[in-house]
Symmetry: C2
Subunit: 402 residues, 2 copies
Amino acid sequence: MAVGQNRFPLMPPISGVQIGTTNAGIKQTVRDDLLIFQFTGTCAGVFTQNAFCAAPVHLAKAHLTESPRWLLINSGNANAGTGEQGMRDAMKTCADLARFTDGKREQVLPFSTGVIGQPLPVEKIENSLPQAVANLIEDNWEKAAQAIMTTDTFPKGVSKTIVLDGETVTINGISKGAGMIQPNMATMLSFIATDAKISQPLLQNCLAMATELSFNRITVDGDTSTNDACIVMASGCSNAPEIVADSENYRIFAAAILDVSKTLAELIVRDGEGATKLMRIVVSEAANDAEAVQVAKTIAHSPLVKTAFFASDPNWGRILAAVGRAGVEKMELEKIRIYLDDVCIVREGGRANDYTEEAGQAVMNQAEIMIVVKLGRGDASQTVLTCDFSYDYVKINAEYRT
Amino acid sequence: MAVGQNRFPLMPPISGVQIGTTNAGIKQTVRDDLLIFQFTGTCAGVFTQNAFCAAPVHLAKAHLTESPRWLLINSGNANAGTGEQGMRDAMKTCADLARFTDGKREQVLPFSTGVIGQPLPVEKIENSLPQAVANLIEDNWEKAAQAIMTTDTFPKGVSKTIVLDGETVTINGISKGAGMIQPNMATMLSFIATDAKISQPLLQNCLAMATELSFNRITVDGDTSTNDACIVMASGCSNAPEIVADSENYRIFAAAILDVSKTLAELIVRDGEGATKLMRIVVSEAANDAEAVQVAKTIAHSPLVKTAFFASDPNWGRILAAVGRAGVEKMELEKIRIYLDDVCIVREGGRANDYTEEAGQAVMNQAEIMIVVKLGRGDASQTVLTCDFSYDYVKINAEYRT
């Protein structure tokens, strides 16, 4: 189940970025589960803030400063909660890939996603790496997106072009994730590549800003993964001049990276485990951004709100109760207005006078719904995306390991 | 569905506390939905901290200082999110009861529980009050517990006697609640009565301490209701001497009130919407109590943990991930130990060496499970009770209004 039509887009090759995938038998499905990116240029990354981040996250963070040339990604096993052995295993896969490509193991960033607490099958990975290396080609973005899926029901990708000084620059992004999604710095796994030329520090700034307003504004179940990571590679192979700080080109590029990140983040929510509805929660008239996010996330995490949306039930009392328990000081009920799309449901401390169940029901029957909460406290506004809570969420997560 | 055998206990009358119930047709079921307590002595109360507390909560708080003589409780309608009209309606029901009992409306504390955002059917209540008043008797605690049920599957009560200076003192308590349960000061609705003699300020202290360690340590779905309230009435009709501060009798009495509160709180979790399992989450070796509660509640609210327990799946990675995202500064993975009952599942940063899936599975197959997390940071310890997350939770909350 997923919300909306989510066809994989046409994704052109990115010059300087090669993709190789293969089936290493980690997931024991017919789908590829091993992915290599080989690239030139600069690379930036943001990672989970879960205190117990997985072994590959530790290593990827450390290797990020060593001019990386490869990303090595497996699905089916998270290599998290695996102690010292997990660190040794992650290190070994980097060393293996370096051996097969004549690189240095410090130039490999490893990523893993899947079940927590199982030893990484390092032999399977070692045995499959030569095939993945042999497959390297400047194409195959859809295959890459498929190779990183776990409980995802569709591969997630987006492509965008911008023009800098008359030269075309392309940005491609793929991501995966459907559960354990409340990214805190980045989502489960997202990989963005561009042929733009940009220094590492500037690319890192650009990514940090983009993730804050995209991946950090979505939630499926409030659970922050141990393995979240978002990486952007910039090969510098386009004909456009290098992007420098405080330039018009930087603004165009940063806006495009944000746009790509937002699209990838939204695709994750659309594929939220068991999702039947996409909810955009807009909290406006807040005293500041933090307060707006706090109220929006309290609504987004409420199981009562999420099950009401699953039932297409305009049970606005649950939204109001969630706003009330969000922990914002001195909130005044009389100033709050709540809308479902453009239907006002709450005003002056209670149900809006002109509200009808029919009008509320009409909005609730849609697959995509905007919840607007106006706090009457200031002019800050933030949006959080989430999905509903269905029988299938319980089913998927009750049966995940069996 | 509910966890364990939950037979209603024998509850003796409390001298000086009368109970009257009737069917006012608010819920449109055969069960009584209107309850009056008439009592002498002192009375203390704690209320929800949801910023948008319901009209009756506002009024009950205001009337608590006016030597209350009656509690007026209806189920089926929360009178919350009802604006000015809601305040007028709550006031009218107090005035009506005062009229039928020759009391003052300020001596009536009103309580409502049920659907949010619907106008309170004041005529139905006015028409039924004479019957409820006529029914007043020093007995019928089970009827009282039944009259306040909403999505509860069984009535919840507990009775306890203590001996003070050779004289028996009885404490009875009833409660209701199954969803929208993460009480913040008190649970949905709990009413405790005793024939002890104790001043109002001392009774209030006693209740505040008890709720902090009982109702404020349970959660079903993380949603704090707009209507939570817990009231204790002390008629002073027993032969025991008045309980004074800092006395041995006060310590015995306070321990008994805490005991009654803990039992009522646990009954609410056992009847958590769709619950099939009761989880006691004990976080020990924390730097302080707040940190222990924070970690315990993060585990208790994780949909991934709750669905794994529903599936009897010893998916300890989800518990570890929840501990990691609890927001505790400088937590060290290597120091953490996690147990299911007495089976160690996590030690030294990963799965315990001697852990077997069989041992974990054996614990998970139980209906009541203790999760122990030792943080290795200090000597504070706190316990939070919660239940699992099942298909029936979604079903109950998707269909509640239909």
